[in-house]
Amino acid sequence: MRKVMGLCNLHSAVSLNELTHSRPIASTSFLGRYAFIDFTLSNFSNSGIDEVGILVKNQPRSILKHLGSTNVWNTNTKLGYEAIMYNEKHAHAPSYNHDINNIVANDWIFYNAKPDLFIIAPVHILYPFDFRPMLRAHEESGAAITVLHAAIADGRSQFVEGDQIVVAPDGRVRELTINKGVADAIDVSLETYVIGLDKLQELIALAQKTSAFFNLRDAIRHAISIGWDVRGHKFEGYVRHFGSFNHYRKHSLELLRYDIRKELFRPEWPIYTVTHDTPPAKYGPEAQVKNSFVANGSRVNGKVVNSIISRNVVIEEGAVIKNSIVFTDTKIGKDVHVGNAVIDKYVRIETVKDIGGTEEDPIYVKQGDRI
C-alpha cells in the first residue's frame, strides 16, 4: 500500500502587510470562520491523506493556538496527525530559514514517517482540490516531480511575484520564473508538488551542494535547468493567490457572490476548522443585513451591507458597516459608520463615529485598538 504524507508549506507564503505583522497568513482569519491553513488541511483530509507535517517558517504563536491539540482534520486520530515542523536553529536567520533547511531539521519524515510520496502544498494559494488524480498521474508518468499549475487570465494583477510556469505540450515543465505582472494570459504554478521520498532527498542534496540559500522553489527551478523530469498537472477551477492586503480584501468579499462561492465551497468537499462552540448569530429588532456573511456568536442590531462579520462580533443599534471585514470579538458601537475597512480582532470602535477608506485604499484597524 502506497503511503502519502502531506507537507503544508508556510515558507512560501508572502506578507499581507498589516494583517500578517503578528501572525502568518496560515492562521489569518478568512470569511469570519476559517484560517487559511484550514483549506490546505481540508484538501489533505478530503483526499484521504491523514499524515501531515506543517512547515512553520516563523511566528508560530498563532499557528500553535489554532491547531492546539485538536485533530479536526484527521480520519483516524491515532494514525493521523498534524506535526508542527519548525526549524528553531534558523528561525532568526532569514537567508537560512527556508523550507529545505526546515525539512533537513525535521528529517524524521524520512526515517520515521517514511512515506512513498510527499505532497507539498502552500497556504496562501486557495483552491479546492482532490490530490488523488495528481498522485496517480505522477506515478504513471514516472516524473521526478509533478507541479500543479493553472492558466489565469489576469496575470497583471494576480499571482504577481508568484511563480509563472511554462509547460510544454508533452507535459514537461520548461521554465519556472517569477510573474512580474506584464502579461494577463499566463500559466502559474500553484506551488504544489508531488515528489517521491528518494527524489526529495536527492533534491535537497542538490540544493545544498549548489547554494545554502536555496529554497524548495529555487531547487526545483535548478533541477529543471539541469534536465530533471519535472511535469505539470493542470488544475481547473477556483484558485486565488493571496499576495497582498488588497488581494485579501478583494478575494474575501468576492465570495459574497454565489457563482464564485459555489466553486470554493462544494458539498462533497467540506472545509474543516476548529470549533469555538459559539451560539448561532443573533439579529436584533433593528438589524438590516444585506449581502453579507455573519459568523456564529455575533449579535447584530445595526446595518451591514456587502461585508463579512466574524465570530462574536457585536454591532450595536444605528451602526452601519459597508464593504468591510470585521474580525472576531470586535465591537462596533452605537451609530458608528464603517466603510471599506478591515478591522482586526478585539477592536472597540465607540468614540470616533466615522471610519472609512476607499475601495482602492481601504483602512486597516489594528488588533485590540480602541477608537
Partner: protein, 370 residues
C-alpha cells in the same frame, strides 16, 4: 479510590407529545436553539461542573443517540480522566429486559456504578433546557449531610400538578413529596435532578427492584420510600432558567425565549457555562441582497434570501427569496421555497416547503414534516 461523583443521564424516553419530531429519534436528540440538541444542555452542564464520568441511559431509538453521544468528545468528556458510556438495555446472565422505569434503568446499571465506586451519583434527565453548575448542588448536599438532594424550582400553582411537588421545613429538608398531585399544596417542583449518596441509592434501588407493586420510578416510588425510611432528603432551590420541552408548544416557546428574553438563558455570556455541541463543518451563513432578518437566531450554513422575523433558523436551512418565515423554528436542512409563508410553526429537519404553501399554526403551534 473511586470517583467522587458520577452522572447518570436518563435519555431513554420517546417524548410522545413531540409527535412526529420523535418518530425516528429520541426526545433528547431533538434539535433546539439553532444548533443544539436537547441533550447538549445536561452534558455541557456536566462538563462545566467538572464532572468527568457520565453514563447515558438510552432506550427508544437508541442508535442516533448512542452515535451522537459517542465518546463524549463534543462536550470534552473524553479526556484522560473522563469516561462517557452509552448504556442501552442489554442482555446479561439473568436475561434481558427493557428499562421498566427511571429507577429500574439505574438499577440495571448498578454493576457499571460499582466499577466506578462513586461517593455520589447525579441523576439527570435529557428533557430540559437549563444551565446549571451541579457543584453548587453537591456542596449543599454535603453541607446538609443529606442522603438525597432534589433540585427544585418554584412553579405557578396552576402548573404544579404536572410536577413532583414537595413540602419542606425551615432547613429545606423535604417533609412530603407527591408525584403529579391532583391538588398541589406547594409550588416547589422537582426538576428531575437528584444527587444521591451512592450507598443510599443502591440500597433503595435494590428494595425497589423487589417490590412488585412498584413502577420503578424515582418520583413515584424511590423518593417516597426514602421519606418513609426517614432518610435525609434536601431540596436544593435553583433560580435560573429551566424549561421542560416535552410538548410542541413548550419546545417552541423555549426557542422563542432565546430571542425574546436575553436574561432567561444567555448563550452569549462568559459565565463559564458554555453549551457545547456538534460542529457541522458548515460554510458561513449568508444573508442575501433582498433578505430581511430581524429578531432572530441564525446558525452557520444557513442561507437567507427571503424574510425572516422572530424565528430560529438552524444550519443548512435555505430561505429562498420571496419566502416569509415568522414566529417559527426551522430545523436543519429545511428549504422554504420562494413564495411560501411559514408562521407559528416548527418545521422538522430536511423538510421542503413548496412555494404555494401557507402554513400558520394560529393560536397553537403546527409541526410541519415532509
Amino acid at each position: 479510590m473511586g470517583k467522587e461523583i458520577v452522572a447518570m443521564l436518563l435519555a431513554g424516553g420517546k417524548g410522545t407529545r413531540l409527535e412526529a419530531l420523535t418518530r425516528k429519534i429520541a426526545k433528547p436528540a431533538v434539535s433546539f436553539g439553532g444548533k443544539y440538541r436537547i441533550i447538549d444542555f445536561p452534558l455541557s452542564n456536566c462538563a462545566n461542573s467538572r464532572i468527568d464520568t457520565v453514563g447515558v441511559l438510552t432506550q427508544y431509538e437508541s442508535v442516533v443517540l448512542n452515535t451522537y453521544v459517542g465518546n463524549g468528545e463534543k462536550w470534552g468528556l473524553n479526556g484522560v480522566h473522563s469516561l462517557t458510556a452509552s448504556l442501552p438495555p442489554r442482555q446479561t446472565e439473568e436475561g434481558a429486559a427493557w428499562y421498566k422505569g427511571t429507577a429500574d434503568a439505574i438499577y440495571q446499571n448498578i454493576d457499571f456504578l460499582d466499577t466506578l465506586a462513586p461517593e455520589y451519583v447525579l441523576i439527570l434527565s435529557g428533557d430540559h433546557i437549563y444551565k446549571m453548575d451541579y457543584r453548587l448542588m453537591l456542596e449543599a448536599h454535603k453541607a446538609h449531610n443529606a442522603d438525597l438532594t432534589v433540585a427544585v424550582i418554584d412553579v405557578p400553582l396552576k402548573e404544579a400538578s404536572r410536577f413532583g411537588i414537595m413540602s419542606v421545613n425551615d432547613e429545606m429538608m423535604i417533609t412530603k413529596f407527591s408525584e403529579k398531585p391532583a391538588k398541589p399544596t406547594s409550588t416547589l417542583a422537582s426538576m428531575g435532578i437528584y444527587i444521591f449518596n451512592y450507598k443510599a441509592l443502591k440500597s433503595a434501588l435494590a428494595f425497589d427492584a423487589k417490590d412488585e407493586e412498584s413502577e420503578h420510578d424515582f418520583g413515584k416510588n424511590v423518593i417516597p420510600y426514602l421519606l418513609s425510611k426517614k432518610r435525609r432528603l434536601l431540596a436544593y432551590r435553583f433560580s435560573g432558567y429551566w424549561k421542560d420541552v416535552g410538548t410542541l408548544a413548550s419546545l417552541w416557546s423555549a426557542n422563542m425565549d432565546l430571542i425574546d428574553d436575553e436574561g432567561a438563558l444567555d448563550l452569549y455570556s462568559n459565565d463559564d457555562l458554555k453549551i457545547f455541541s456538534e460542529d457541522t463543518h458548515s460554510v458561513p451563513q449568508y444573508v442575501g441582497r433582498a433578505a430581511t432578518v430581524v429578531n432572530s437566531m441564525v446558525n452557520q450554513g444557513a442561507i437567507v434570501l427571503g424574510h425572516v422575523e422572530h424565528s430560529v433558523i438552524f444550519n443548512e436551512v435555505v430561505i429562498e427569496e420571496g419566502a416569509r418565515v415568522a414566529d417559527s423554528v426551522i430545523m436543519p436542512g429545511v428549504t422554504v421555497k420562494s413564495g411560501a409563508a411559514v408562521n407559528r410553526a416548527i418545521v422538522a429537519g430536511d423538510t421542503t416547503i413548496a412555494g404555494d404553501r401557507r402554513i400558520d399554526g394560529g393560536e397553537a403551534i403546527v409541526l410541519v414534516t415532509n
